[in-house]
């Protein structure tokens, strides 16, 4: 079953002379439980693609379907609400809310939705990611690797349909990066999550089930499912 589908995605920035074709028609399917890595050089359009998939930005043409829902047709507020329920984001810069502590950051999307927090589940995630001693800490008291683990926990907490990771190791040294990514993979398997990750690092990409290569706004290789 395809949990994520992109059909004929195009994104054009600017007008006239300054027109930039960031995406030139991308088709993509991701199955439930898959760990997909999208690789490409900078300017290849991989970040734009991820933004489209996560509903952070709208495609100029084409559609993005997550769990049978075309999110490119939703209104702004609807996309936001859909995003916090169905998509877990992990960013290169961690993007934790600096004024909230670890636990509060993790449960934030749930609380924003007004949903009930499944405390046992959240505890389990926290334990899996090795954060149980840091629940009260503020983000600036954590190391980069710890911060990214909090971000992973936050992405998992709402049991989203899919997790989108944007260069999750980009701000970490290679050892920590490897560790964090292993943890991400382990927890995704444990909680049967689907992950789409972008990276420019081939070594990191090797951990994925499938590697999609993107160049100049087009997919050049869809990779093979393992």
């Amino acid at each position: 079953m395809n949990i994520l589908e992109a059909k004929g995605l195009k994104k054009i920035y600017g007008e006239g002379e300054n027109k930039v074709n960031a995406l030139r028609g991308v088709d993509l399917e991701v199955k439930k439980g898959e760990f997909v890595a999208i690789v490409g050089t900078s300017g290849s359009g991989k970040s734009t693609l991820l933004h489209m998939l996560g509903g952070l930005d709208r495609p100029t043409e084409g559609e993005v379907i997550i769990e049978q829902k075309d999110i490119s047709k939703l209104k702004d507020e609807e996309v936001t609400i859909f995003r916090r329920r169905k998509i877990g984001f992990i960013f290169q810069a961690f993007n934790l809310v600096p004024v909230l502590n670890v636990y509060e950051n993790i449960v934030l999307p749930i609380e924003l939705d007004g949903a009930k927090i499944d405390k046992d589940f959240v505890e389990e995630i926290i334990n899996t990611l090795g954060l149980s001693g840091k629940k009260e800490a503020l983000p600036n008291q954590l190391s980069g690797g710890q911060q990214q683990r909090v971000a992973i926990a936050r992405a998992l907490a709402f049991r989203p349909a899919i997790i989108l990771a944007d260069e999750p190791t980009g701000n970490l040294d290679s050892k920590t990066g490897q560790d964090v990514l292993s943890l991400l993979k382990v927890s995704a398997e444990k909680f049967s999550q689907t992950i789409v990750m972008i990276t420019h690092n081939d070594e990191i990409a090797q951990l994925a089930d499938r590697i999609i290569r993107i160049e100049d706004g087009c997919i050049v290789s869809k990779g093979e499912g393992r």
């Binding site: 952070l56 930005d57 702004d76 609400i81 004024v99 909230l100 609380e111 924003l112 007004g114 936050r154």
Partner: protein
């Protein structure tokens, strides 16, 4: 869909609030400053109202809500058991003394219970309330008039008339022991002389034996609130088994509502013009608040744009982000508003005496209102200001695109090229920086310039008050002496200034012109024809008793008659005719009163008298107003319709020839007017016709030399003091002081307003500069890294500051110059004593001061910046 996410949004709002200390302090200060303005306004408004109330209560002799009149003990028991009545006071008046020494202000001998004593403003200075036998208490002035030392235990002999009887046989003489006294209150309508209940009861028995009606009490009552007193009184009366509408009924009861409660709340306090002024002021304050609060939030939202973008990516909806901003704003209100209200309330209390001095109210009646309206209204207006001001920054934060937020830097929205090949000079960089966030810059300019423009306008306004015009218009003569009542617009009466007093003043001053004015007292009337009668009835608000025509078909309509001696005829403004005829002994002439406005319509008025017409004035000894249905005097609350009839008895009538239409300067007039035809007579003619009812009202005189003027001023000042507030005078000197007071009031209020708006402007500037420096922390570090010296950075920042402040000064200068003609025209229209002029001096004086501020703030902020090394600052990038 109702979701429970409020707590978490609130948490984000409150926590992120704490990270921005500088902004919070400035925002709290801004909120407090604007709240000060609102609270001061409301404090003064409500305090004027409550002072007016206190003043009226003291003039009326008490502050009980209402009174049931002439009740028996039985009635009292019935009425006071009603649940609406919270407290009650009882007063039994035994008698009145209007003879010497109480000719000017009568003395009322009565029993008051504890409540009534309290409600009559009686606060004993020494002693206790009369409890038994012939114990008595009274005020210090009554003691002085009686020639008794204010000492407990003194024996006092009083003579007074049994209430309602003026003949010799009703005079009672008795000796009492003083057991207490209180400080005399100038405003009190009578000298209260209070006796014990025991004495009152015995007195009642004594007079009933003599064949007088038994004494009746007045029952003063208090309800839980002063809302709808009349309605409550009606309910109490009816539900206790009385009627208040049928005077002939056995269970009829009369009551009166304390007019103090109705005036003060009445429409005369809050005219449309006053309300418009208050609204205009409120808009001004909201605008001032908007300028800064909007800017503070705008700047901080731009600074925190990444934070809001981040919240958005996580799934915070636009509405939730708006709430985050609103929560922050309201949290700042929680600190700022109480602070502002506290300071504003104090400021209002301090400014109250300045306002009251400008009114006819007594300064010692000043009551600072504690009405919750002040605090609630101020808080609501402030919250409104804050909500209005933060709405747009809230929308900006909510609108942020999660992708864009990451890249957002101040001014990045501005597209276009910089056409320059001159290279980057410090000054051109500074100009470019100021232009980065156009909105912020414009708001700072407006905020600073606004304060200067208001300052200039206040100065223009106050500086244009023309003292000589004021004095010339208000004072027709150098001095005017009369009884206090005259200045309170009550005209003359038998207790006004006496002939002896007039003689004494004449003897002790060196007057070059001596004017005397009289009023024909009593119910003076003119005889109207049918048409004039109809017109009169239509023009009198609140109904008018029916009159059947006199034998000759005429109607008697109330009209005031002033009489003046020849010296004062010079001061009249003649519209038409010959006023010298007023002093012509050969005929009887009258000058009819008019004014600039009504004289214009005179020609077209068919009911108006023409020069040479005959007009008949009359003075009845008695006027009976009777209810035809009962044959009795109509009670309170009875509507004046055709059932109420007026009858005039023993009318002294005289026909006069209209010799002129004149205007009397306010200061020489009766200071009151009727709906009839008010006239001016020569003093001799008036005395000839109306005899003893012509009573002196005031003397008005001029002096020739300055020495004489000073001597007269000195003499009158002493005389007024010695008279214990009975005689009062007006003089040029007093008018000058009054003028200065009036001018000062505006100067003080304008000053306070300017000071606060100025502070808001400077705060706005400080915030803009500091936020600008902090937002560009990395950028400045990079500039330093590539070779800009610290001195150059400072130079750049100071130049930015100077562009703001000096720029605002120049804008204010231009605006002020442009606004002056418009302001002059408007104020001249509103204040007749204002002379238009041109002045931008205050702005010119302020520009260097602003320049100093523009230099100091960036310099100080830069110092704070250098505490952190360049490397550290660069590292924070990202």
């Amino acid at each position: 869909m109702r979701v429970n996410n409020r707590k978490c949004v609130r948490r984000i709002g409150v926590r992120s609030l704490l990270t921005n200390k500088r902004r919070n302090i400035i925002a709290i200060a801004a909120i407090a400053l604007t709240a000060i303005l609102f609270t001061t306004l409301f404090t003064i408004m409500m305090s004027i109202s409550s002072t007016y109330e206190t003043n009226s209560f003291r003039l009326l002799g008490g502050y009980a809500h209402a009174t049931f009149k002439d009740v028996t003990d039985e009635d009292i028991a019935k009425l006071t058991s009603h649940k609406l009545i919270k407290e009650y006071g009882e007063r039994i008046v035994l008698g009145v003394s209007a003879e010497a020494p109480f000719t000017k202000r009568s003395a009322e001998i009565s029993y008051m219970n504890d409540n009534d004593t309290k409600w009559s403003y009686i606060k004993l200075k020494e002693g206790h309330l009369p409890t038994s036998g012939k114990e008595v208490i009274m005020d210090t002035e009554a003691l002085r008039l009686l020639g008794v030392e204010p000492k407990l235990g003194e024996e006092i002999t009083l003579s007074f008339n049994i209430l309602g009887f003026e003949d010799e046989s009703a005079i009672v003489l008795d000796t009492f022991t003083l057991v207490g006294y209180w400080e005399f209150d100038q405003l009190c309508p009578a000298h209260f002389i209070n006796v014990s209940k025991e004495y009152a009861d015995e007195f009642g028995k004594m007079i009933t034996e003599k064949g007088y009606e038994p004494l009746r009490a007045n029952l003063d009552v208090m309800f839980s609130s002063s809302v709808d007193i009349e309605g409550k009184m009606c309910r109490v009366a009816e539900e206790s088994g009385f009627t208040f509408s049928q005077p002939e009924a056995d269970n009829y009861i009369r009551f009166g509502v304390n007019p103090g409660y109705t005036f003060a709340k009445g429409s005369d306090m809050f005219t449309p013009a006053t309300i418009a002024c208050i609204l205009a002021f409120a808009v001004l304050v909201i605008f001032t608040g908007y300028l800064i609060i909007y800017n503070i939030f705008q700047i901080s939202v731009v600074g925190d744009i990444r934070f809001y973008g981040l919240l958005k990516t996580i799934g915070t909806t636009s509405r939730q982000i708006k709430r985050v901003i609103r929560i922050q704003a309201l949290a700042l209100c929680v600190i700022g508003i109480p602070l502002g209200i506290l300071l504003g309330y104090g400021l209002g209390a301090i400014l109250m005496p300045v306002v009251i001095r400008m009114s006819t109210m007594s300064a010692d009646a000043i009551t600072i209102s504690t009405s919750p309206v002040i605090f609630v209204a101020s808080a609501l207006f402030e919250i409104l200001t804050v909500i209005v001001s933060t709405a747009k920054p809230g929308r900006l934060a909510a609108k942020v695109s999660p992708v864009e937020a990451v890249r957002y830097t101040e001014g990045s929205g501005v597209n276009g090229k910089r056409k320059t090949t001159k290279g980057a000079k410090v000054i051109s960089m500074a100009i470019a920086n100021v232009g980065r966030n156009k909105k912020k810059t414009v708001l700072v300019f407006i905020s600073l310039a606004f304060a200067l423009v208001i300052l200039n306008s206040v100065n223009l306004f106050v500086g244009g008050f023309d003292r000589e015009r004021w004095i010339a218009a208000t004072d027709a003569t150098d001095f005017l002496v009369a009884n206090t009542q005259y200045f309170k617009f009550n005209g003359a009466s038998r207790s006004s200034i006496s002939t002896e007093e007039i003689e004494a003043i004449k003897e002790n001053t060196n007057a070059s012109l001596w004017g005397e004015a009289y009023e024909v007292t009593g119910y003076t009337v003119y005889k109207a024809n049918e048409a004039q009668y109809r017109e009169y009835v239509d023009s009198v608000p609140g109904g008018q008793p029916y009159q059947k025509p006199q034998e000759d078909g005429g109607y008697y309509l109330g009209s005031f008659i002033e009489a003046i001696n020849p010296a004062l005829t010079e001061s009249l403004k003649v519209y038409e005719g010959d006023i010298s005829l007023l002093n012509d002994k050969s005929g009887r002439y009258v000058a009819l009163l008019s004014d600039d406005e009504s004289y214009k319509y005179l020609k077209d008025d068919p009911n108006a008298f023409k020069i040479g017409d005959k007009i008949t004035y009359g003075r009845p000894e008695t006027v009976l107003t009777l209810d035809k249905r009962t044959g009795e005097i109509p009670g309170e609350g009875v509507i004046y319709d055709d059932n109420i009839e007026e009858e005039f008895i023993d009318v002294t009538e005289c026909e006069f020839t209209v010799c002129a239409y004149v205007g009397v300067p306010i200061s020489l007039s009766l200071r009151k007017g009727s709906f009839g035809k008010d006239g001016v007579l020569g003093a001799d003619t008036a005395k000839e016709v109306f005899g003893d009812s012509v009573v002196p009202m005031f003397v008005a005189f001029n002096t020739d030399s300055e020495a004489d003027e000073a001597a007269a001023e000195q003499y009158l000042s002493n005389l007024s003091k010695e008279s214990a507030g009975e005689l009062e005078y007006e003089s040029k000197e007093i008018k000058r002081k009054e003028f200065e007071d009036f001018k000062n009031m505006f100067a003080i209020f304008g000053g306070v307003l300017v000071a606060i708006i100025g502070m808001v402007g400077v705060l706005n500037f400080i915030n803009a500069i500091m936020a600008g420096i902090i937002a560009r922390k990395n950028e400045i570090a990079v500039l330093q890294a590539i070779g800009m010296t610290g001195k150059q950075v400072k130079e750049m920042l100071v130049t930015e500051g100077l562009i703001y402040t000096v720029g605002a000064g120049v804008i204010a200068l231009v605006l002020s110059a442009m606004l002056t003609p418009l302001l002059n025209a408007t104020i001249e229209n509103m204040f007749w004593f204002y002379s238009g002029h041109f002045s931008v001096t205050p702005v010119l004086i302020m520009i260097p001061i602003f320049a100093l501020v523009g230099f100091l703030i960036p310099a100080i902020s830069y110092k704070g910046l250098t505490k952190v090394s360049v490397v550290e600052r660069i590292r924070e990038l990202g």
